[in-house]
Symmetry: C2
Subunit: 342 residues, 2 copies
Amino acid sequence: MKNSVDIYTIAEHAGVSKSTVSRVLNNKDDVSETTREKVMEVIKNLNYKPNSSAKGLASQRTKTVGLVVSEITNSFFSMFVKGAEDKAMEENYNIMLANSNWVVEEELKCIRIFEEGRVDGILKISGGGDELLNDYLNSLANKEMPLIVVDRKMDNENIPKVNVDNIDGAYKGTKYLLGLGHKKIAFVKGDDIAASDASIDRVKGYRKALADSNIDYQVIEPGFFDREDAFTATENIIKNHPDITAIFYASDMMAVGGLKALKKAGLKVPEDISVLGFDDIELASIIDPALSTLRQPRYQMGYLGMEKLIDKLEGRPEEVYGEDVIFELELIERESTGPVKA
Amino acid sequence: MKNSVDIYTIAEHAGVSKSTVSRVLNNKDDVSETTREKVMEVIKNLNYKPNSSAKGLASQRTKTVGLVVSEITNSFFSMFVKGAEDKAMEENYNIMLANSNWVVEEELKCIRIFEEGRVDGILKISGGGDELLNDYLNSLANKEMPLIVVDRKMDNENIPKVNVDNIDGAYKGTKYLLGLGHKKIAFVKGDDIAASDASIDRVKGYRKALADSNIDYQVIEPGFFDREDAFTATENIIKNHPDITAIFYASDMMAVGGLKALKKAGLKVPEDISVLGFDDIELASIIDPALSTLRQPRYQMGYLGMEKLIDKLEGRPEEVYGEDVIFELELIERESTGPVKA
DNA sequence: CTGAAAGCGCTTACAG
DNA sequence: CTGAAAGCGCTTACAG
């Protein structure tokens, strides 16, 4: 069962000891230039590939991180993954992928497997707001396993977070609509129970902006972050509040459902009614009319989350990764919003 | 540097030897029921987690497979990943993810890392048609590393493949349009150089269907599998061939670009012109009008690819995984196609 | 059904 | 700057 070419083979061919080979492999600086070159040449000639299990066992580090995502099929999430992946590649870390499909049990299962020394740390992206899971994550973080959480609130100071300011984002969006002259603005919220208080915070931002402008009028319909539910929510809104001139959706996907309902009702966007989304998913710029929205820098968030994790794993000072980072949402104006009708 | 609780700790507490602990851990059948229970209990009590590096080193197997994808952000590809992931989970295999971003060098880099004993086998999804890469894959397959290729042609009998019958799919689509009474059908092809001969084969299918129906009329425009290029291609088609009544796009994403061009030109779909896509990406059913298309069973393809790989890794008989599997495309009728105008 | 022993391929103090 | 030796935490014939 012996591997054909291992570190010992290299040592023999180069006329040195295994220790020395290991040193050049790991770029230790206390090796003479001539030995290093000699060893490198043998490595190249014999096409030697270090065995990562052996390395992992001996060094107690695997140079791989675990990535937990709720749903990789959704480009909203895969954009985080891509950012994280790119950073990992840069730093020569590998990624172990776990797709939880929104199922808490699966998420736990994945994390447990990660704990089997397969992984030096874990990057968790979004995910449900389950209590059981939270407890587990907390216990993890307080123990030995480095953990970073992206796109999600967590009440644990030991877990560095990368997130977005949802209150401010919704505030900004509402203010923008107000600035366009809209006075009757409906809000289609997501799912109150869902992850990261995203929907709750967005509702807060909407309300705050209205209050700051002394506007009493407010209509909030639940769309559950679902396209079809948002379709229904939109039908309800235009039926019950025909005087409304703008609808702000807590996600682009819901806005897309809304657009369809509006079209069905014969309402033109943005001439008759303005539509504002949230997230800036790829679809937002593809759909017709292109959606105005609040952009969430998902690639950067994933990238930064991975950067923090690796900083931690590499033992860099806590100042560089310990602080939470909260990104702002950027307003993207496209075709679905316009000034209120005179 | 010793781990607090290892197999030896368990052995001590249970009053047995490490060998026995290892046996129950690996579900060997030659352990008495009483010892097994005793050991299991200790394992549970001490919350023991086996160290996968040690396991990997000793057993020469990591129970993880490498997944190479071109672009995880694209839901077309992530659907394969999800299928593969689900199957891996079922079989208790882990997934190491590598996103090549379409860059051949990165793809090679990923595969090389996988070779460092991190991975028992590789599942390659789509990807470019580079010669260098092909050679490398061939050399891999002929050596020790199990490899399965999904959504891609490869001239190597030692590499089991899971693919789709593109010629037949395009044939079917064209026949469908013909059946609707269309006689002047344009085809927007993809990228001749791209992976898997997908575009080339689809063009073949289109031509074959026309030939079988004794129709000489044929118009082929390149759209490079790109939305914007397809937009331009569509403008060219309607300008140069105003008598055309249907356009068949080699991908849904191109069809979406086409829809936009058609709308801009004031043409109604499907009243004035029918539009048929290829792939059945999520967007196809979201867009308005919903796209008729040929469905590629990506989830199943990913799932089956992983199944084959694991069958191979588990040493199951070659009959169960050695054969290539070619799926048919399924015609999905939605709103963008209709009978030709009288 | 169970244990002792060798070994998987590396890293890492320690000594020189 | 380099080598010998111990050790990382498992698995796996081998023997009984």
